[in-house]
Amino acid sequence: MLKYQQLKQSKPQSAILRCSSTGCNCRILEVKDFNSDLQSNDFPLTKITNAPKMPQTIELGNEEALSDESQGLFYSVDDMWSFDNIGVSKTTEKFEGTEEIKTEAGETIYFQRYLICADCDRGPIGFAGYLGDAKRSDDGSGLHYFIHPESVRYEIKR
């Protein structure tokens, strides 16, 4: 299981994103189309301005600061059914930022929920919000999901 920094060195074409908690290993999402820059069409890695801070989930009580490089980077997932397993918090306004959250393209993200591991509740590993004037719904379907690359581990199939 690789960390994001190691993943960047190994340049795989696909990877399974898993929970980083010891003994959990929950399968979160499979990315099948990494290019050599670790970009994916299915789940593009996007720079988010003023994103909620994600702890780098390594070990309990040892939450290292994020590397500057990946701070604000998220895999963008536009359909909740893409996830194999994911936990979604209740709607909350509770997060530390006060500035407007924006995508790389300058579109506003209206923060709604935190994402956690479905098995062990570890998190947040990402967040979900409404993109611009996307249709609001109460069943999670209208939300756009963002997973932080350093909050998960990577299994590479050889």
Binding site: S21, T22, G23, C24, C26, R27, E30, N41, D42, L60, M80, W81, F83, D84, N85, I86, G87, V88, S89, K90, T91, T92, K94, R113, Y114, I116, A118, D119, C120, D121, R122, G123, P124, D138, D139, G140
Partner: protein
Amino acid sequence: MSRAYDMTMKLLLVGDSGVGKSCLLLRFVEDKFTQSFITTIGIDFKIRTIEIGDKKIKLQVWDTAGQERFRTITMAYYRGAMGIIIVYDVGDENSFNSVKKWYQTVNQHANDDAQLILVGNKCDDDSARQVSKKQGELVAQELGVPFLEASAKTNENVDAVFFQLAQLILEKTNVAQLAQKENNLDVTQGNKSSSSGCC
């Protein structure tokens, strides 16, 4: 991107407050992070992927914890639910006595074809048991719903709850699809069916 699954199902956990509905959604791992600040916000739903035969099924499981008192809010949860898990705590007789009340609420608000299952949960201490397995079985029989005892603590039957419920929904759907097919045949033969059926 091609769809990597065969079916999605919305499932709902209901039951008295404190019976361990949330526990059924939490796998027992040594490194449990119950102190996570997320637990104070609360979890709305989880997506879980299971495989039944050659079918990959994505479950969206809604936890109604904390909503028990707010009946009107809870109503929205029932919309579109294909399966409902009624949970009681085997260590809490009151929660068992509420099962019939939950059954009525569910019948009132859920789709007619929603599949139910009754689960006796022993999330905590088994020595505190107040409701026997036999009692659970009898009520399930009376209500005409399948029954399981599960322990979130030991993971006993936790997966089985979701598997069994999904399996029953899958069977129902197959039957409905078959009926739909026959209806379609009728249409091509000019016998337009007026029954609305299920969409």
